[in-house]
């Protein structure tokens, strides 16, 4: 009976792996067929030598970095303050952070364009609007990761201990709170990074250079290069996931026995 259960377990594991990896493998193999009759990395070489790829990919890197910086500066103090001073509002704030899951990006971007495309708020062309929009988009991941990090430490007592030693709010935040939730912040940051790197709608409709719109354009004109880009995109996401689990492991060693 036990043995039969085990066979079924393996069956579903293999089925899951095939379901997930077969399309990826097919895409990868397809991306290697740019040269007739041989398997080569020609499509990858074409992509990396395209100045438009460099420009769009760098732009996405910049948006992702700025999104993380703005998000951390905005969400860490907010989550900290809510937990410390107004814990009764935690549920309401959590609900607000989930709104980007509910509002479709296309609705959101039309709202932004309508609101910010005429005076006095004529900032629809500003990259700041795109970063602000990405910050909102990353909120469910970043805010919640930070909040979970704060849950793992005794925020109130650590704050009071630092205060009794003469520390002000800035010192408490940057020397006590952030270093102790840095793994949670990194987790949220990697997730946000992956989201922003693959985001299409906001960049497309706010007319800013980015990796995903470049890929969409390429799909219309080329065959093998988009497949190469899809593989690169997957590799990037996996690298982020790998980093999350790597820093997470470091955190476990440090916290062990700490509380």
């Amino acid at each position: 009976m036990k043995r039969r259960g085990k066979i079924w377990a393996w069956f579903f594991i293999i089925l899951g792996i095939l379901y997930f990896f077969l399309p990826l493998l097919a895409t990868f193999l397809f991306s290697l067929r740019a040269k007739l009759g041989v398997l080569s990395f020609q499509a990858y070489a074409n992509v990396f030598s395209d100045p438009k790829f460099i420009r769009n990919f760098s732009a996405s890197l910049l948006w992702a970095t700025l999104t993380i910086v703005v998000g951390v500066l905005l969400f860490v103090p907010t989550a900290y303050w809510v937990r410390l001073k107004v814990p009764q509002f935690r549920v309401a704030v959590e609900f607000i952070t989930l709104i980007p899951f509910v509002v479709p990006a296309i609705v959101y971007v039309f709202g932004l364009v309508r609101t910010y495309s005429h005076p006095p708020l004529l900032i629809v062309d500003s990259p700041a609007l795109l970063v602000a929009a990405y910050t909102i988009l990353s909120m469910p991941y970043l805010y919640r990761a930070i909040d979970i990090g704060l849950r793992s430490i005794d925020v109130r007592t650590l704050t009071e201990a630092a205060q009794s030693l003469g520390a002000g709010w800035g010192t408490i935040l940057f020397r006590i709170i952030i270093p102790n939730i840095r793994v949670a912040i990194l987790n949220g940051a990697f997730l946000s990074f992956a989201i922003v790197m693959g985001e299409y709608i906001l960049a497309q409709y706010l007319a800013k250079p980015a990796f995903a719109p470049y890929m969409a354009v390429l799909i219309q004109n080329r065959a093998y290069e988009p497949a190469a880009l899809a593989v690169i995109s997957f590799a990037l996401t996996w690298a982020c996931m790998g980093l999350i689990s790597l820093v997470g492991r470091g955190q476990q060693t440090q916290i062990a026995g700490g509380h």
């Binding site: 005794d154 650590l158 009071e160 201990a161 009794s164 916290i255």
Partner: protein, 352 residues
């Protein structure tokens, strides 16, 4: 003028009165314990001294300066928490030196002071460790060193030993007292453990329902409780209803048997109902016959508690506990035996 004054301080949260008209003067170098059950207001009072709560009314003055409205980081008050509250991202040395760094002390002075503090807590070799590499007792010693490194005017300890096991609690409380005496620092110690409060304090404030029940030396609090709550809360106690027989000669009747107290009963009338408190260790067996404070009884139970043997005797309708030091050659009666117990007039306390 006392070094630390808590004048008419009250704290109200919504409809709940957490602290009600608290008044206390503490001299420089004194260690005062706030003792009471959960919710009695002792921690709230401590937090008002620390600045984490602002009093609804009243003033707090330290060394002549009114600190009632001051922010916690401006008060020059060190605090040790029940949960240690060491910064997990910092080493022991960095934790101890944190306050000095905030105060912008030069690095050399900081290093010297941290080494001094590590010496005081007997952890000279632990500076490079992280909090998670220490036991609970060690963490609390580091927390104490951290609070003392800045030489604060007042040290506040909020149930610092509650999370530790019994043996470490006893040794660490002696260490806290010795360090406090050595540095001559004024300290307030919050605890619900009467043994802790009695063993390390110059004075004890017993609190109940947000009010001060009694303030006194541990000796006074234990031997001369002024209220029934103090009598009940501090130490083991026999608390028995009695009737005043003759106020002039201080005689009372406990279920038909007479006792005499050393306290004046002139404010009472014959027939008044009072509560009489007798500590178990003040009772002893006797064979002196019918006299005041000699009570006929029967042996109900005998419990061996290590250094003490507790005998439960039945006097009329009520039970009394009697503690006697353990002695291998002690001849104890058997359960059911008839006997007589006695106590001095001073041992019979009449509480409100």
């Amino acid at each position: 003028m006392a070094f630390l004054e808590i004048n008419n301080v009250s704290k109200i949260f919504g409809q709940a009165v957490a602290v009600n008209d608290f008044n206390l003067q503490i001299e420089r170098g004194e260690l005062v314990s706030f003792l009471g059950p959960s919710g009695c207001g002792k921690t709230t009072t401590l937090r008002m001294v620390a600045g984490f709560e602002i009093p609804t009314s009243g003033r707090i003055v330290v060394n002549g300066e009114d600190i009632t409205e001051k922010a916690p980081n401006q008060r020059d008050v060190g605090m040790v928490f029940q949960a240690y509250a060491l910064f997990p991202n910092m080493t022991v040395a960095d934790n101890i030196g944190f306050g000095l760094m905030i105060a912008r002390k030069p690095a050399a002075d900081r290093k010297k002071r941290v080494a001094e503090m590590l010496d005081i807590i007997h952890m000279a070799d632990f500076g490079a460790r992280f909090p998670y590499q220490l036991s609970g007792g060690q963490q609390q010693r580091v927390a104490l060193a951290r609070a003392l490194a800045l030489s604060p005017q007042v040290l506040l300890l909020d149930e610092p030993l509650s999370a530790l096991d019994a043996k470490i609690r006893v040794s660490l409380r002696a260490e806290i007292r010795s360090i406090q005496r050595k540095l001559g620092i004024t300290a307030i110690y919050v605890t619900h453990d009467q043994e802790e409060a009695l063993s390390l304090s110059d004075r004890v404030v017993v609190m109940n329902g947000g009010r001060m029940e009694q303030v006194g030396t541990p000796f006074e609090i234990y031997n001369f409780p002024k209220t029934e709550f103090v009598a009940q809360f501090v130490g083991q106690l026999n608390s028995v209803k009695a009737e005043v027989v003759d106020p002039a000669s201080n005689r009372l009747k406990m279920d038909g048997q007479q006792v005499q107290t050393a306290e004046s009963l002139l404010s009472y009338h014959a027939g008044d109902q009072v509560v009489v408190a007798i500590r178990p260790e003040r009772l002893s067996f006797t064979t002196e016959g019918v006299k005041p404070n000699v009570l006929d009884c029967s042996i109900e139970n005998i419990t061996f508690l290590g250094s003490v043997v507790r005998v439960t005797v039945k006097v009329g309708q009520f039970n009394l506990f009697m503690d006697t030091f353990n002695n291998p050659f002690l001849e104890l009666p058997k359960i059911g035996d008839k006997a007589q117990v006695t106590c001095s007039r001073e041992a019979v306390l009449v509480v409100k």
